[in-house]
């Protein structure tokens, strides 16, 4: 099976299926978000369009597609058009390296984590450009906040990932997943969530900030900035921003699962060297279950916590998360050099 045509065909098929499923999760997620927030607030949520309201996202999209496509006066036209794409494309691109099943990913890179981190860092350009090009003071403030917030939280996030990479001694995401699997009843304890709890917590919270979700959605801030960077966007341009946010959520959750929650590995089931269809389905299914659990956590948190104030956000970022993740990194390094196996997992 070394025929290059066959390999290209397989790669294309993988890309189409994985991206297709990824983009179909987005409307599902929008629906779940609206239903879960309704339950939290003792409401019912959308339940009219289709059975139990499942077609509501479709109705939303139709509505958005038929809206007038406005460009505000004095807007920087090309940057204004580019901004939604710059939010959406990196989020989708970053998903290419996340393994959703046994060695199953759109693009196999040896530098998985680094590629993902580089690409997802681009999304801040979209927010900043959107805020800048809209010719609106609120949007500009939103874009400014987005840049400041994402840059400061990216540092903490990167430092927490480095701690994982140091113990794993690889940046290959599949290899990181393999190292998190162990036989036995307590195999789950091999997950980096338990091996590197500080890094996991810092990463989780930084992921909230990176994806602009409450309690860190300072860039949007409906109350003060009337939507922030996307105030001036209508129709499908707004929809692109919106989808970018949700895809970024999925990507970040996927990364979180891969790095900290054992990825596609199925607990108590040996990782097969030559996976059959059943093994594959099992691993993809288990990944999906974890993905939806994390997405639920995202939504749950969003509708629980109020938004942080800007100064609180910056204080937490620079005075808590960066020192904590630096200390964690230092501790991991010392433990690695001295070979303290009781403290960190060493390969």
């Amino acid at each position: 099976m070394t025929d290059p045509t066959y390999a290209i065909l397989i790669a294309m098929l993988k890309a189409v299926i994985i991206f297709g499923v990824l983009l179909q999760i987005v409307p599902l997620l929008v629906y779940f978000e609206r239903r879960i927030c309704a339950w939290i607030q003792d409401r019912i949520g959308p339940n009219r369009v289709g059975p139990v309201g499942i077609l509501q996202p479709l109705a939303d999209v139709i509505k958005l597609a038929f809206k007038e496509d406005l460009t505000p006066q004095g807007a920087d036209k090309w940057i204004y058009r580019l901004a939604p794409v710059l939010v959406y494309a990196p989020a989708v691109l970053a998903f290419t390296v996340i393994p959703v099943g046994i060695d199953l990913q759109v693009a196999t890179f040896d530098i998985g984590v680094i590629f993902l981190f580089t690409i997802s860092g681009f999304s801040v350009y979209g927010l900043a450009f959107g805020g800048w090009a809209s010719n609106n003071k609120y949007s500009l403030l939103g874009g400014l906040r987005a840049s400041a917030q994402m840059i400061s939280y990216e540092v903490a996030m990167g430092l927490s990932i480095i701690a994982i990479l140091m113990t794993a001694e690889t940046v290959d995401l599949n290899e990181i997943v393999r190292q998190q699997w162990a036989a036995g009843t307590l195999g789950l304890l091999e997950w980096n969530l338990f091996q590197q709890p500080i890094a996991a917590v810092v990463f989780m919270i930084a992921a909230f900030a990176e994806t602009n979700r409450l309690p860190f959605d300072l860039a949007e801030c409906e109350a003060e900035l009337i939507g922030g960077f996307h105030t001036e966007y209508t129709g499908l341009k707004f929809a692109t921003f919106f989808m970018g946010e949700y895809v970024a959520m999925i990507t970040m959750s996927g990364l979180m699962i891969t790095l900290f929650l054992g990825g596609w590995s199925v607990p108590w089931v040996e990782i097969p060297t030559d996976p059959s269809i059943i093994d594959m389905a099992l691993s993809v299914g288990f990944f999906t279950v974890k993905l939806f659990a994390l997405l639920f956590f995202y939504i749950w948190t969003r509708w629980t916590l109020p938004r942080f104030r800007y100064d609180q956000l910056m204080r937490i970022g620079w005075k808590v998360f960066i020192p904590v993740s630096l200390a964690n990194l230092g501790l991991t390094a010392i433990a690695g050099v001295l070979g303290w196996k009781w403290l960190i997992p060493l390969p």
């Binding site: 309704a38 339950w39 939290i40 629980t304």
Partner: protein, 161 residues
């Protein structure tokens, strides 16, 4: 300026801070408490929603909806066109034109009695002011119309309600 706001912020914190030192030290405990609280709401799942067009709530007694004019036992309108209601009306939505009554027991009756339901604030002052108990607010609140003109109710409509 910055120092001043910092100081007042500190005062605010001191006032609102709980006695539990763990809550002062970190956000973790309140965040966890909040998450448990919202999870309880999800699991309990007792929405307060009334599915409006399918199920309608019964208004409480004394609910102030749209008006009607009453008739007496002989089938005549009770209204004697005294203008008390239109005088009392804070929204000036009642328009009355009086004419001489053909009956012996009263001098006047309304020739025109229009209420602009779009202007009415449903305060019930007209009902309070009426000396003859002729105007009344019903619990009906959900009569839609396609034009504003349809929501100006005349005497016949008010009497027929």
């Amino acid at each position: 300026m910055a120092n001043h706001s910092d100081a007042s912020e500190e005062n605010q914190k001191r006032k609102t801070a709980t006695s539990d030192p763990r809550e002062k030290a970190t956000y973790a405990v309140p965040v966890a408490k909040g998450l448990i609280n919202t999870l309880k709401h999800i699991l309990r799942n007792e929405p307060n929603t009334i599915h409006y067009p399918d199920e309608k709530r019964t208004p409480y007694p004394g609910y102030r909806g749209e008006h009607r004019l009453k008739r007496d036992e002989l089938g005549r309108e009770k209204c004697v066109a005294c203008f008390m209601c239109s005088t009392a009306c804070p929204a000036h939505c009642i328009e009355i034109v009086a004419e001489e009554a053909p009956w012996d027991d009263r001098e006047k009756r309304p020739r025109l009695f229009n209420i602009d339901m779009m202007r009415c604030i449903y305060c019930g002052m007209c009902e309070e002011a009426c000396p003859c108990d002729a105007i009344e607010l019903t619990p009906v609140f959900n009569i839609p119309a396609r034009t504003r003109a349809e929501k100006i109710y005349d005497k016949d409509k008010l009497l027929s309600l």
